[in-house]
C-alpha cells in the first residue's frame, strides 16, 4: 500500500500543536511506515503540492493565513485542523475584543521598549483581519481541539484517518485546554 502523504502548516499559532505531534515519540516510528511527510514548517517549502492529508495549526488572523489555508485546501484531499486556535480561534480570539489600531499601538508604542515606536507599514506585511477559526475560510473535514491537543488525541485522529474514518474525538480524551 502506498504511503499516505501528509503536509502541514502553521498559521497564527505558537507551534505547540506541532510540538505535541512530535511528542507522539515512539508512536511516530509506527506511523512512519504508513505516512510520508511533504511540505511542513520543518521543510520550509512555501508552496504545497498535492497530498492526501493536510494538517493546519493556528487561526486565520491575516491575509497570509487565508492564502496558506486556501493553498493547502486546494492541494489536499482531507483537511484536518489541530488545536483550539484552528478549531475555535483560540487564544488569538482575545484580539477580536479590540480594534486593530488598539492592538498595534499597544504593541508598537505603549508597551514597546524600542525608541521610535512607529507601527510598521509596508505592502509586504499581510493585513490583519479578525481572528477566525479555519472553517470560516476553507472547508475543514476533521478537528482535533486542545491547547495543545494531547499526543493521545493526535494519535487517535491519525489512526482513525488511516483506517479510513473521519475522526470525531471521544468525550473521554477530548479537551480544550
Amino acid at each position: 500500500m502506498a504511503k499516505v502523504k501528509v503536509a502541514t502548516a502553521w498559521l497564527d499559532s505558537c507551534s505547540g500543536c506541532h510540538m505535541s505531534f512530535l511528542d507522539l515519540d515512539e508512536a511516530l516510528i509506527g506511523l512512519a511506515d504508513k505516512l510520508e511527510f511533504g511540505e511542513s514548517p520543518i521543510t520550509d517549502i512555501k508552496k504545497f503540492t498535492p497530498c492526501d492529508v493536510g494538517i493546519l495549526e493556528g487561526s486565520i488572523s491575516n491575509h497570509h493565513d487565508e492564502e496558506v489555508a486556501k493553498d493547502l485546501r486546494a492541494n489536499c484531499k482531507i483537511l484536518m485542523v489541530f488545536g483550539d486556535c484552528a478549531c475555535f480561534g483560540g487564544i488569538n480570539n482575545m484580539r477580536n475584543f479590540f480594534t486593530d489600531e488598539e492592538i498595534t499601538s499597544r504593541y508598537y508604542s505603549t508597551e514597546s521598549t524600542t525608541p521610535g515606536s512607529a507601527t510598521p507599514k509596508s505592502k509586504e506585511l499581510p493585513a490583519l483581519t479578525k481572528v477566525r477559526p479555519v472553517n470560516q475560510v476553507v472547508k475543514v473535514d476533521c478537528y482535533v481541539p486542545g491547547c495543545p491537543p494531547t499526543p493521545k488525541m493526535i494519535l487517535y485522529a491519525l489512526t482513525e484517518l488511516l483506517e479510513g474514518r473521519l475522526p470525531v474525538l471521544p468525550t473521554e480524551i477530548m479537551r480544550f485546554d
Binding site: 485542523v81 483550539d84 478549531c87 475555535f88 480561534g89 483560540g90 487564544i91 480570539n93 482575545m94 477580536n96 475584543f97 477559526p133 472553517n135 470560516q136 475543514v140 476533521c142 478537528y143 482535533v144 481541539p145 491547547c147 470525531v168 474525538l169 471521544p170 468525550t171 477530548m174 479537551r175 480544550f176 485546554d177
Partner: protein, 655 residues
C-alpha cells in the same frame, strides 16, 4: 404525596406527585444533562438541555419543571434530542466569550464538560464577540459577564440561599445581563460576599479572587471540617492542593448552615498575618528570638513553678473542648491556680447572671434552640446584634424567614438598622434603655392577651409598672411604634429572639432577664426551650463556658503571671492594655500580634484547619473539626500543654 408510576426509556419507574420529571429521572439513575438546574434551588428551565420527549406533548419539554404524572411515557435520549442539546451548547458557545484556554474555570466548568460530552470540536456558529464588562472591584468576587451563560443559578442562589436578592437579571433577550442591585458594581452593592453565587456558577463567570491561580478543583483533594469563624460552626468542604488551601465550599447549600459567609468562604482563605512557626524566648537583650521547643518549655515551666498559684490562664473561645480540658488541667490542676478565664468570659457572666435572675432560685431555663428554627419563625426580634458582621449565616436565615415565611422582623438597636430592607420595624432606644423597651413590650403583650397575666402574676405586676407614655420619654421611642411592635409580637405564633453582644447591650444582665421574660410570655409559658438565641463570640464559647472556665473575672484577680492560650484568635485593645501590666507572659499563638511581642515565652499553635476537636456551637449543638492540612510540623495545642505540665511536675523545688 401519592406514588405514581411513569415509563421512562421503556423502563417503569416510581415517583411521587409533586416531583418533576427530572427529579424522578435523577432518582432512578437516568442521566439527563442540565446546566441551569442545581440541587437545592428552584428550577426555571433556562438552558433547555434537559429537554425530553413526552408522549402526550407535541414538542420536547424541559424535564426540570415538568410536573410528573401517573402514566407519563417519556424518552430522555433520542437522536433528535441529542441533536437539540448539542445545538444548545453550540449556541451558548457562540453567544459570548467561551474560549477555554484563557479561562480560570477551565477544567472545572460545566459548560466545557457539556461540550466534551457532545463532542463539540468546532464552532458551527460564528462567535458574536460582544465586549462585556468585567466587574473585579468586589473584595473577593469578580464577575466576568463575557463568560456568563445566563443560567440564573447565581440569581437563584442569591435569592433563595442568601435571601439577599442582590443579583438579578437586567435587560431583555440577547441584551440580558446579570446585575447587582440597580446595576451597581458588585463591590458597591448590597452583596454580603457569602459566595453562594460563586459556588452556583457553572462557568468562569463568577470567580473567587482569593482562589485565583491556586489550582482547579479537579486537581485538589477535599476534606470535610467545620468553619470556626463564628459560633455557628458551618460544615465546610476544604479543597487542598500542594498543601495550600484553594477553596472552601459548602457541603449542603440548602441546610441552615449551608450558605456560608464572607468569613467562612473567603476570609479564612486570605489570611495575611505572619505565622509563628517556631518557639520563641525573650533573650538577655529583651528581644524575642527563635529557640528549640525544649528550651521554651523549660523556661516556661521554670517560671510557672516560681509563680505557682499566682499565675492565671486565659484562653480563646476558639479552641476545642479537648484543649480546654488540658489547659484547665495545667492551670487549675498542676499549677494549682484558681485564676482562669476566657476572652469572652464577660459575655458569659452577663448572660448567666441574667438567666439566674430569671430563674429566681429555680432551675435555669433551656435556651439557645437550634438556629434552624429561625426559618420557621413568624416573628423575629433582634436585640443588639450586628448579625451581618458577626454571624452572617444567621442574617441569611432571618432574610429567608422574612422572604419565604412572611416573618416580621423587629430590630432593637440604638445605632443602625442592620437589615433595613427586611425589617418591619426599627426601634431605636436611647443608650442603655433596651431593657426598658423589652419590659414595656412584655407588658403590652400581657395587656393584649390578659390570660398571660396568670402565668407569672408577680412578673405581670412588675411589668405593669412600665407604662408606655413614661417609657417613651425615657427611651426616645414613639408610643405608636411600641404598640406596633407589641401587636406584631402578640400576633406571632412562633417568635424567635436573637440577642447579640454589641457594646450597647453588653454587661446588662437585666436586659437578658427581660428578654427571657418576654420569650416566656410569647411562648405562652409552653415549650421546654425558650426560643432565644444568644450569639456568642467564638465557636466554642459555649464549650468553654460549660467547662466552668469563665465564672470569675480574671482582671479582678490580678495574677502576676499569665498563660495566654490565644491560638489563631485576636485580642482587643482592652485585653492588650491589661496584659501589659502582667509581669510574666507565656503566649501560645498562631500569628504574630502586639500581644505576642509582649510575651516572655512564645509557643506556636495550630490554626483552625490544622486542629481537630469537638466544639459546642450555636444551639448547643456539638460539632467536630478535622485537621485537614498540616503546616510547619507543628504539634497540637494539647500536646504542648501536656509537655509544659510534664516539665512542671519534674521541677523538684516546686512548692
Amino acid at each position: 404525596m401519592q406514588e405514581i408510576t411513569l415509563t421512562i426509556n421503556g423502563q417503569s419507574v416510581k415517583g411521587k406527585t409533586g416531583d418533576t420529571v427530572l427529579t424522578i429521572c435523577r432518582a432512578n439513575g437516568i442521566d439527563v444533562p442540565t446546566l441551569c438546574h442545581l440541587d437545592g434551588l428552584s428550577d426555571v428551565g433556562a438552558c433547555r438541555l434537559c429537554v425530553v420527549e413526552i408522549l402526550s406533548e407535541k414538542k420536547p419539554i424541559p424535564a426540570c419543571n415538568y410536573p410528573a404524572r401517573d402514566g407519563l411515557v417519556i424518552k430522555t435520549s433520542t437522536p433528535q434530542l441529542e441533536r437539540y442539546r448539542k445545538q444548545v451548547i453550540e449556541l451558548l458557545f457562540a453567544e459570548r466569550n467561551h474560549f477555554c484556554m484563557f479561562c480560570e474555570s477551565s477544567g472545572d466548568c460545566e459548560l466545557q464538560k457539556m461540550a466534551y460530552r457532545y463532542q463539540m470540536d468546532n464552532d458551527r456558529f460564528q462567535s458574536l464577540f460582544p465586549k462585556l464588562k468585567v466587574d473585579t472591584l468586589s473584595k473577593y468576587l469578580a464577575i466576568d459577564h463575557n463568560r456568563c451563560i445566563l443560567c440564573g443559578r447565581c440569581v437563584r442562589a442569591c435569592k433563595e440561599i442568601a435571601a439577599l436578592r442582590t443579583l438579578d437579571f437586567s435587560g431583555r433577550g440577547g441584551q440580558t445581563m446579570v446585575a447587582a442591585d440597580l446595576n451597581l458594581p458588585l463591590g458597591e452593592s448590597s452583596c454580603t460576599l457569602c459566595g453562594s453565587c460563586l459556588q452556583a456558577c457553572p462557568t468562569g463567570a463568577i470567580i473567587n479572587k482569593a482562589s485565583l491561580y491556586k489550582g482547579r478543583s479537579a486537581e485538589c483533594t477535599s476534606a470535610d471540617t467545620i468553619c470556626q469563624g463564628c459560633d455557628i460552626g458551618c460544615e465546610i468542604k476544604v479543597l487542598i492542593k500542594d498543601e495550600n488551601l484553594v477553596k472552601i465550599e459548602t457541603t449542603d447549600r440548602t441546610s441552615a448552615r449551608g450558605a456560608l459567609c464572607n468569613i467562612g468562604r473567603f476570609e479564612q482563605l486570605s489570611e495575611t498575618r505572619a505565622r509563628i512557626t517556631s518557639s520563641m524566648i525573650r533573650n538577655a537583650k529583651g528581644k524575642l528570638e527563635n529557640c528549640s521547643q525544649d528550651e521554651a518549655l523549660t523556661a516556661a515551666a521554670k517560671k510557672l513553678a516560681e509563680l505557682g498559684s499566682n499565675c492565671g490562664g486565659l484562653m480563646s473561645p476558639r479552641i476545642p473542648n479537648e484543649t480546654i480540658a488540658q489547659f484547665q488541667k495545667l492551670i487549675t490542676g498542676t499549677q494549682k491556680s484558681k485564676i482562669i478565664d476566657t476572652l469572652d468570659g464577660k459575655e458569659y457572666r452577663t448572660i448567666s447572671a441574667g438567666i439566674r435572675q430569671y430563674a429566681n432560685g429555680g432551675t435555669n431555663p433551656e435556651v439557645d434552640p437550634d438556629i434552624e428554627g429561625i426559618l420557621k419563625a413568624d416573628c423575629i426580634l433582634v436585640v443588639g446584634a450586628d448579625i451581618d458582621r458577626t454571624n452572617p449565616v444567621i442574617g441569611n436565615l432571618v432574610r429567608r424567614a422574612v422572604s419565604y415565611n412572611q416573618a416580621k422582623l423587629i430590630m432593637v438597636d440604638a445605632n443602625q438598622d442592620m437589615l433595613p430592607l427586611w425589617s418591619e420595624l426599627w426601634l431605636k432606644p436611647a443608650a442603655g434603655t433596651e431593657k426598658v423597651v423589652i419590659n414595656v413590650l412584655a407588658n403590652m403583650v400581657i395587656s393584649n392577651n390578659k390570660s398571660l397575666a396568670e402565668l407569672k402574676p408577680e412578673l405581670s405586676r412588675a411589668l405593669s409598672l412600665n407604662e408606655a407614655d413614661k417609657v417613651t420619654a425615657k427611651t426616645a421611642i414613639a408610643e405608636k411604634d411600641l404598640q406596633t411592635a407589641a401587636k406584631i409580637l402578640s400576633q406571632s405564633k412562633n417568635a424567635f429572639i436573637i440577642y447579640g453582644n454589641k457594646p450597647a447591650a453588653q454587661n446588662d444582665a437585666d436586659l437578658v432577664t427581660s428578654l427571657l421574660n418576654l420569650t416566656y410570655l410569647l411562648q405562652n409559658g409552653k415549650g421546654e426551650r425558650l426560643n432565644i438565641v444568644f450569639l456568642k463570640p467564638g465557636i466554642n464559647s459555649q464549650g468553654a463556658w460549660d467547662s466552668g472556665a469563665a465564672t470569675k473575672d480574671i482582671k479582678t484577680q490580678q495574677p502576676r503571671g499569665l498563660y495566654l492560650l490565644l491560638s489563631d484568635d485576636i485580642i482587643d485593645k482592652d485585653w492588650l492594655d491589661w496584659v501589659k501590666g502582667i509581669d510574666y507572659l507565656i503566649v501560645q499563638a498562631s500569628y504574630i500580634s502586639p500581644v505576642v511581642e509582649k510575651a516572655d515565652v512564645v509557643l506556636p499553635s495550630r490554626i483552625w484547619d490544622e486542629r481537630g476537636g469537638s466544639y459546642v456551637t450555636a444551639g448547643k449543638r456539638s460539632a467536630k473539626s478535622n485537621p485537614v492540612i498540616q503546616r510547619y510540623g507543628l504539634i497540637p495545642d494539647e500536646e504542648i500543654l501536656q509537655r509544659v505540665a510534664e516539665k512542671l511536675i519534674a521541677i523538684p523545688s516546686r512548692s
